[in-house]
């Protein structure tokens, strides 16, 4: 039987682990697919830097053309990351009839449909299991195991950096800055952590998860995305005292024929499965009309876990090559789903407020809540060192429309300011 020759574009943490897994696990893959996998060519920026890292029979090059023009190479793994030139690289590869496997969530979230169409036009496979939640095989599971069910909600902890920071804030009573610095020391956070801590990375993943769950594309621009950098140590403590853990959750729900998707801090009850997901781990909870609640938990990042997802894609493509069935989309569920009326999106909220420590302030607050038709479930007031007081509220369920009303009315009161508003599960 022929070997399957593979090209890699990029040889960082994930690329090196992919090379290692292909080299070391050839026998099992051959046992399952009948084919041996071999990495033939790797495109890197600096050949000298990687020379010692690759087996002798693997060619290192700086030229993508060495892969594009090599008819022997059937499958190419793109693990360079970023939007450009990754998009141009994948485009060139697909046009050269190469099957492509990528871990590039930014690219798939923003140009996935365009690239999937290009793959179909070239009768090529384009797979990207590793783009969401690292080692958790969530995309393929949604495609295969929820094919006949209607997913009503997909939510989860899909960013390891922020989960590590929040776990440390809670366990060690650290400030956000302390926890971020530690995460950077340990390599869980980048030197510019913006993409992670502001929820953008999680939002990309929710775009892809929503696409798979509902067959519809949500624009990042239409999603409310909030990160964790504004969470105060005392919010973590107060949530804990109320019986909750603060987690950065992506939530995507089907409501009345529309899809509502958001990323933001959420108070999760301590006995909820998502509350027990700690440190850099990820978990995705999928609720189906038939199956009910399911949860998939595992490492959200890291070289080998992510490489395992890349390998599962390579094995799928290899099976398709053997069976002659390449060129079908990774996800081919398509559905037209609209947006949701803010009156229909209902949650309880945790509101953290600062107000002048003077008579009449609580009355003002209560008046606004009454006026918008919302009510408190729990309320805690503490005096600050200065002339202000801090008030923390857990509301009864209210709609997004009511919350927007509340914020607007509160903005007109110059003695009370809203520090944070987080959903409560």
């Amino acid at each position: 039987m022929d070997d399957i020759k593979i090209g890699l574009v990029g040889l960082g943490t994930v690329g090196s682990s992919v090379l290692k897994m292909i080299t070391e696990n050839q026998d099992k893959v051959q046992n399952i697919t009948g084919r041996r996998l071999n990495v033939k060519t790797i495109v890197v920026r600096n050949i000298a830097k990687h020379q010692d890292q690759v087996p002798e029979n693997v060619k290192l090059t700086t030229e993508l053309a060495d892969i594009v023009n090599d008819p022997e190479i059937k499958i190419v793994v793109e693990v360079m990351g970023g939007l450009h030139p990754a998009k141009e690289v994948i485009t060139q590869l697909l046009n050269a009839k190469k099957h492509v496997v990528t871990a590039n969530k930014d690219l798939i979230a923003s140009a996935g449909e365009e690239l999937a169409a290009l793959a179909r036009a070239n009768h090529c496979d384009l797979m990207y299991e590793a783009s969401v939640a690292g080692g958790i095989p969530i995309l393929r599971t949604i495609v295969t195991s929820f094919a006949a069910d209607h997913i009503t909600e997909v939510k989860g902890i899909v960013n390891g950096t922020t989960n590590y920071i929040l776990t440390q804030m809670q366990r060690r009573n650290w400030t956000y800055d302390q926890a971020l610095m530690k995460a950077q020391e340990l390599g869980f956070a980048e030197s510019d952590p913006t993409n992670d801590v502001e929820g953008i990375d999680a939002a990309y993943k929710m775009v892809i998860l929503s696409q798979f769950s509902y067959g519809t594309h949500i624009k990042l621009a239409n999603m409310k995305v909030e990160g964790i950098s504004a969470i105060q140590q005392r919010d973590v403590l107060q949530a804990d005292a109320f019986g909750y853990t603060i987690k950065l959750l992506g939530i995507s729900r089907r409501i009345n024929g529309g899809v509502f998707a958001e990323v933001g801090p959420v108070l999760v009850p301590k006995d909820h499965p998502l509350a027990t997901i700690n440190n850099e781990n990820n978990a995705v909870m999928v609720t189906g009309e038939a199956v009910g609640e399911t949860l998939f938990y595992g490492p959200g990042a890291g070289g080998l876990p992510t490489a395992n997802s890349v390998l599962s894609d390579i094995v799928s493509v290899t099976k398709n090559i053997v069976l002659g069935t390449t060129g079908n989309s990774f996800n081919n569920y398509q559905s037209d789903i609209g947006r949701v009326d803010p009156n229909d999106i209902v949650y309880a909220y945790y509101l953290s407020l600062q107000m002048l420590d003077a008579p009449g302030q609580m009355l003002k607050l209560t008046q606004i809540m009454t006026q918008i038709g919302a009510s408190f479930s729990r309320i805690v007031q503490t005096k600050n060192d200065d002339q202000t007081a801090r008030v923390v509220i857990i509301t009864h369920k209210m709609s997004k429309a009511q919350l927007a009303d509340f914020k607007q009315q509160l903005a007109a009161v110059d003695t009370i300011s809203l520090l944070g508003s987080y959903k409560v599960l």
Copy 2:
């Protein structure tokens, strides 16, 4: 495009839910596969009983021949359960070139290889996702997402009945009998609960999980299988005081090129993900060399969750029919793996003992432990109402060989008896 006509054998809880899902979710399946699914014929024992339950265009019959001899029917779902005549039914169906989907764990665990070979010989698909852990898509996940990884351990809560009973014993401080009776009332346990409570059902599932994880067939006869009927209320309390929850776990580990598999009560630390799986829910934890620890959680039984797994198989078969790729095994990983030396199977143990309340007994116990080279980590002694005392021990790690030695030596001491020995995670 042609419809895909489906036959059902059996119309109990799962069968009715399969019928409902196929009828109600036709549009999504068509969107994904390009084919409409239609149930044409259902084999039941008593037609009159089910007459009102099926749409007019579905034929009810008592004759399997009405499916076997109908060339229009491509896929048949066997949901009658039990070994016989289910085995004969599936054999007949495969020989008539029907693709078969089944939820029958007893049959797959005991005759899965034989039936898989028959399916291959007839170029038919045979799938059975629903046979393990109801709504959790664990088998297909192992096949697709761990294809290039080496699984080192698969363990989990794979029986909902026993997990419900243990949860209630702990939460409500009930005896085993009280909790069993409640489970029977609620329909979580059968009137003869032996298969569930003695661990046999879980053992069947571990046979199938081991097959998928290691490519090797473990004989039920070679597995130590212990149920929960001997667990005492005070074991649950004592475990709780030590910081553990007692769960009935199936554990299957690769150790030094062999596979060790067992079912029995295990003390799980309260902060371990498996400790948080309550009531009738199931969870399977898969550890891979590359990916690390992953966990898959969901409903372990119930009509619709199980039906969803059946439907995922039907959709897979439908895709294979469309692509012309039927006849490949559900799991085609094959590997020769031996048994494990009992000296290499190492756990800490919870030992519950009853001894004569007289001087010198603890000395005897300590002498035996010393002699076999094992040691205590924690020990609690309480006086019983009679002339006896109860001693509960958590040992340091020791091998199965040492445990066997311990049991043998203890058997020779007529003033001390071992009530229970459970692994500690």
